[in-house]
């Protein structure tokens, strides 16, 4: 790939920080739509979630986030948010949850606990 490193390294732009790119490395950061693999999907029971973050820590795809829910426990409550574009439905989150409040539900039926599809 002659010419490729120079082309990418000398490109002017606002994000042109001093970074460490040398040689003919891959330069396109892309993701595969692994959400299409899912057979089962995690259905968190938000009312019982304590926001401990075990599912967030152990999710191999890193798609789980614990976010604040203003509607729960006077603004101090936490809920689980999952990025459905990449969740592979492996079920680790349901297995490691100490309160066992994540249940794996069939993908076709959708998730009654989750508003977003």
């Amino acid at each position: 790939m002659p010419g490729q490193p120079e082309k990418h390294m000398n490109k002017p732009g606002k994000n042109n920080k001093t970074r460490t790119v040398y040689g003919p490395v891959a330069t396109v950061f892309a993701s595969v739509n692994t959400g299409s693999w899912r057979i089962l999907r995690p259905g968190p029971d938000h009312s019982r979630c304590a926001g401990c973050g075990q599912c967030e820590t152990f999710c191999p795809t890193g798609v789980i986030e614990i976010i604040d829910d203003p509607a729960k426990e006077g603004g101090r409550g936490k809920v689980v948010e999952i990025d459905w574009a990449y969740c592979k439905g492996c079920g680790i989150c349901a297995d490691v949850c100490p309160k066992k409040c994540i249940r794996m539900v069939e993908e076709k039926k959708g998730n009654e606990n989750e508003e977003r599809n």
Binding site: V21, F29, A30, F58, P60, E65, D95
Partner: protein, 294 residues
């Protein structure tokens, strides 16, 4: 500089085509969280090559190079030498290889790197066989585990790669597990700040190769530590420090029973494995200078 097609929380893309429940995918996220973007990664062919990507696409936001199976450590040492000439002592060079590329094919380059004392962080993710090419047995496959090349169970013992690495007298060598992320992160931080070669050997369950439900990945890795089938310890300048318990261990069948690769084991085989584990734990405990914490 990088053409970012999809956003990601950390330095690793979310949509990577590793199997569902992959232990490797879990640890690479946490390792790169600790190391930060001032890192150059070297990945040999294997499951981790999925993170190198295909063609000009990559799943990592840090520069990387995909080398050959034999010379991961040599490439990493070369990159380090180049950075030293430029005075970039701040950059971490990370070699990220599987068990086949470490204990079998890449061991000569790795041994040379340890001997020369290159400042490289070498991570071996151990899924206990050549998973990417179709579950062939490797030097790290445990005794009696079934693979496609050892369908009746591997007749020989596994190599103790961590002891081999530590025998080179390197400043830091440690074992870690995908189920103990805090312990893993601490060890990566320590290895990053080591002035010299450091070696991490990480147990990463593979649902496809070991034959278990992907949901059990983390609990199986935890069971391995709780039964003593995998021991967490670190060797710092020749001193061994245990990080996992060596007393009141669970029976090893808790770890073996859920796995398809061990389903042919008879009660006597399990007894033999249990006895071997007990003996090895005794050896480690007698060498250790502390009481375990986890």
């Amino acid at each position: 500089m990088y053409d970012i097609k999809n956003t990601a929380k950390g330095l690793v893309a979310h949509g990577v085509s590793t199997c569902a429940g992959c232990g490797l995918e879990l640890i690479i996220r946490h390792i790169l969280d600790v190391l930060g973007e001032n890192t150059v990664i070297v990945i040999p062919p294997g499951c981790a090559a999925l993170f190198s990507g295909y063609g000009k696409e990559t799943a990592l936001r840090i520069p990387g190079f995909q080398g050959n199976l034999e010379n991961t450590a040599a490439i990493a040492a070369g990159i380090r030498a180049g950075f030293e000439v430029q005075g970039r002592h701040d950059i971490t060079v990370l070699a990220f290889a599987g068990d086949g590329a470490t204990v079998d094919i890449g061991i000569q380059a790795l041994s040379g790197m340890f001997e020369r004392g290159e400042r490289v962080l070498y991570v071996c993710y151990d899924n206990e066989a050549y998973m990417n090419t179709g579950i062939q047995g490797s030097g790290s496959t445990p005794f009696m585990a079934a693979t496609t090349t050892t369908p009746g169970g591997k007749p020989s013992r596994r190599k103790n790669m961590l002891e081999i690495a530590a025998a080179h007298g390197i400043p830091y060598a440690a074992s870690a597990s995908a189920a103990y992320i805090d312990d893993l992160k601490k060890k990566v931080e320590k290895a990053k700040n080591t002035d010299g070669p450091s070696y991490l050997h990480i147990h990463t369950p593979c649902p496809t190769g070991w034959g278990f439900d992907p949901a059990l990945s983390v609990s199986l890795a935890r069971a391995a530590v709780q039964t003593g089938a995998w021991v967490l310890y670190e060797i710092e300048k020749g001193k061994l420090k245990l990080n996992s318990k060596t007393t009141k261990l669970k029976p090893v069948s808790d770890y073996l029973k859920p796995q398809g690769r061990f389903k042919h084991l008879s009660d006597k085989d399990i007894q033999d494995i249990q006895q071997e584990i007990d003996e090895y734990i005794q050896v480690l405990a007698s060498r250790s200078e502390n009481q375990a914490v986890i």
